[in-house]
């Protein structure tokens, strides 16, 4: 018995074990690493695929960069490819969405993080989470069959059609609200308690603490939430495909029907599109722009979030 233990405890055992080559372990580590790299490959694939087809598009004789970025008519049938016809609708619907979602989302975040008692939170949070979990196609149904008739009744049936950017934008705002609320709430809760306590000790009211201490302190996080919200709004497809209208139109009037970049991709690719045509490659050019814009927005918001996290840690 004693001899066994002494032999186990001999130092050369440990050294031998450490030196032992474990091929299985290395193979597993290598394959896990490969899987991690795969996620980078996906980004590369997106860039290459979109870039490749977009290059084919720009190589077409009827297309040139200047026309693409500077003109306002998108009619592939007659060779007009002015992206602004689609960008205008994307900007209009996203702007409406942010105008709805930012005040509502920020108010909700302040209420949840500063005012609500734990029991109220337990009820209110799941409601926001449910809103966030509803598929966008359902929001599209809601925009077309509930919000649009109300908008038409309020503005006047003769002035605005069934399809309009206003209803799509409003519903998109409701869709983004939980996102902005949740990121802003995280930012508000990350503000150290000492700041709150200091302000209360000075005799500030709850509203003064929230508006003059917490919101300024969490401003970067709130900014990040707005940027993420814009990125979501720009990339959102189903609500605008259903409710904002079919057919590109250069217009910033919310009461007009106009097609966004995403809505255009969805409508055109919905038919059986022949590969390699200008129509087909033009979609990749639009998608590339979408990808780059959302990528830049997401990178900015991530950078902001990391930066402000460091501030208080």
């Amino acid at each position: 018995m004693t001899t066994k233990i002494s032999s186990l405890a001999a130092p050369n055992w440990a050294a031998q074990l450490r030196k032992k080559a474990r091929w299985g372990e290395s193979a597993i580590e290598a394959s896990l690493f490969a899987v991690g790299i795969l996620t980078i490959l996906i980004t590369l694939a997106i860039t290459i695929v979109l870039g490749d087809q977009a290059l084919l598009f720009f190589a077409e004789p009827e297309v040139n960069l200047q026309e693409f970025f500077l003109t306002t008519s998108w009619q592939p049938q007659i060779g007009d490819f002015g992206i602004w016809a689609l960008v205008s609708a994307t900007l209009t619907t996203s702007a409406i969405a942010i105008l709805v979602a930012l005040p509502l989302g920020l108010s909700a975040a302040i209420y949840l993080s500063e005012y609500a008692k734990p029991r109220a939170r337990a009820v209110l949070k799941p409601i926001l989470e449910t809103l966030a979990g509803i598929p966008t196609v359902v929001y599209g149904y809601f925009a077309l069959l509930f919000v649009s008739p109300i908008v038409r009744n309020l503005v006047g049936v003769e002035k605005v059609g069934v399809y309009n950017m206003l209803s799509a934008g409003l519903v998109m705002g409701i869709m983004i609200l939980p996102l902005i609320a949740s990121i802003s709430e995280d930012a508000l809760s990350a503000v150290p308690n000492s700041l709150r306590e200091g302000a209360y000790a000075m005799g500030a009211t709850k509203f003064e603490v929230s508006s003059q201490v917490l919101v300024p302190a969490a401003l970067s996080g709130i900014g990040a939430s707005v940027i993420v919200g814009i990125s979501r709004a720009v990339g959102e497809t189903m609500i605008v495909a259903i409710a904002s209208g079919a057919g590109p139109k250069f217009s910033f009037n919310p009461l007009d029907a106009a097609e966004t970049m995403t809505g255009h991709i969805a409508r055109i690719s919905g038919g059986d599109l022949p590969y390699g045509t200008v129509d087909y490659t033009s979609l990749f050019a639009i998608a590339l722009m979408l990808f780059l814009v959302t990528l830049i927005l997401n990178l900015i918001s991530q950078w902001i979030v990391t930066k402000f996290r460091e501030q208080y840690e």
């Binding site: 474990r22 372990e25 580590e29 896990l32 690493f33 899987v35 991690g36 795969l38 996620t39 980078i40 996906i42 980004t43 997106i46 695929v49 979109l50 005040p103 509502l104 108010s107 909700a108 302040i110 209420y111 005012y115 409601i127 809103l131 979990g133 509803i134 598929p135 966008t136 196609v137 359902v138 599209g140 149904y141 809601f142 077309l144 069959l145 509930f146 409701i174 939980p178 009211t205 509203f207 508006s211 993420v228 990125s231 990339g235 959102e236 497809t237 189903m238 495909a241 259903i242 995403t262 991709i265 969805a266 690719s269 590969y275 998608a287 979408l290 990808f291 959302t294 990528l295 997401n298």
Partner: protein, 411 residues
């Protein structure tokens, strides 16, 4: 030098009261944002329920009473076949028989055929639920005035038949069977891809990689970015890679299947898998992070290798969290529509999907298609299909919550 004088007592009290009043007003404003959110959610749900049930005004070409003595839904298979033979032209009957032999059709299918081909119901107008409940007299008056001879019936568009019949060009007979099966196939393929890959990547990032190293920082940033890429862009990726470049594989041509192109369940499922991958990774990372270090140290302490530690101790303890995360990913996948449109979901399919190499449709695609139709009966079945979709989502999320509550551990 500016001098500061304290306000008089009365003035001070007024001042403080005013500040508290402002505070109170703002509290109401903050709360109203949440009330608007609650209102929107209720309006959305009520609007869907409102659309999915209600009165229907319809007429038919042939009165059921003239072709059969018993009520049609009580006839058995043989009697229904006889009815079809007696009332359809020879050519029409043979054509139907060639599509699918009459004897192999179920009673429900034959009943639908009789209604569709012989009775030929035509929906004239549908009414939403709340009007049907509260303004029944007005609806009856309107129907008898505008559609003389029409019948009025309360109909639930969401019904067992709706769940079990395939797509049809007439809203009255359309169902979501093929769409639900298509959605389940899609989610199955998506998760079969995303779960192993996602957990692998999460394990690498949490357990193996040096978190400060350049490569793991790049991977981490990249995953966060992928989570923010618009879903339609994933659709374009799927279109170019899975549908076109990998066509021999995704159409099944490699395996001797020749009747399809690349627009198959497999292409769409893989696209969905890539789309939910970042979600799975981020959730799995959180779950792995929550496993306390003492477990790892104990495993290393008794001489376990890194993989033994991960496989026998970290993963089993992180499993509930990983599963919850993948269920959330599944519910994301089941509701996504845009990538499916781009990858090329077929909108009209009546045959159940048999393998990954078949054309497909999915529940959100049907909802999109039906919502876009102008006729009110299609919007009614869109609402019914939304209820089915929300039901599926509710089931998934309830499972996730149950799992979380059942297995959640506090360390």
């Amino acid at each position: 030098m500016p001098s500061f004088t304290y306000p008089e007592k009365n003035e001070l009290e007024r001042f403080v009261a005013a500040r508290y009043r402002t505070g109170w007003v703002w509290q109401v404003i903050f709360l109203s944002a949440l009330i608007i959110a609650i209102f929107s959610l209720s309006a959305l749900l009520l609007n869907i329920v409102d659309g999915a049930f209600g009165y229907v005004a319809y007429e038919f070409k042939k009165d059921p009473l003239t072709i059969s003595e018993k009520p049609l839904d009580q006839l058995n298979q043989q009697e229904l076949i006889a009815l079809l033979q007696a009332n359809l032209s020879r050519g029409a009957y043979n054509k139907l028989n060639n599509e699918k032999p009459m004897e192999s059709r179920s009673q429900g299918e034959l009943y639908n055929l009789v209604i569709e081909r012989i009775i030929q119901v035509k929906t004239l107008q549908t009414y939403p639920l709340f009007r049907s409940l509260f303004e029944k007299a007005a609806i009856e008056a309107e129907v008898s005035e505008r559609y003389p001879g029409a019948r009025l019936e309360f109909r639930s568009w969401l019904s067992p038949t709706f769940l079990t019949t395939p797509q049809s060009s007439k809203a009255e007979f359309a169902g979501v069977r093929t769409a639900v099966l298509g959605s389940l196939w899609l989610v199955g393929i998506a998760i079969a891809f995303a779960l192993p890959v996602g957990v692998g990547a999460a394990v690498y990032l949490q357990e193996y990689a040096n978190k400060k190293s350049f490569i793991s920082r790049v991977i981490q940033t990249n995953i966060n970015n992928l989570a923010g890429v618009p879903s339609i862009v994933y659709g374009m990726l799927g279109l170019a890679i899975f549908v076109r470049a990998w066509e021999p594989f995704t159409s099944g041509a490699m395996f001797g299947i020749t009747d399809t192109n690349g627009r198959t369940i497999l292409s769409a499922g893989l696209t969905m898998g890539i789309l939910v991958l970042p979600l799975v990774i981020i959730n799995a990372q959180e779950a792995i992070k929550a496993v306390p270090d003492s477990l790892r140290q104990a495993a290393y302490g008794v001489g376990a290798t890194r993989w033994q530690t991960v496989w026998h101790h970290v993963l089993p303890n992180a499993l509930p969290g990983i599963l919850t995360g993948s269920i959330l990913a599944m519910s994301r996948a089941i509701g996504e529509t845009a990538p499916l449109i781009v990858v090329g979901a077929s909108t009209f399919i009546t045959i159940d999907p048999q393998s990954p190499f078949t054309k497909f449709t999915a529940l959100p695609i049907q909802i999109y298609q039906w919502t876009s139709r102008a006729q009110s009966e299609f919007q009614a079945i869109a609402a019914a299909a939304i209820l089915v979709l929300l039901g599926l989502l509710l089931t998934l999320n309830a499972t996730a919550i149950l799992l979380r509550n059942r297995f959640q551990r506090r360390w």
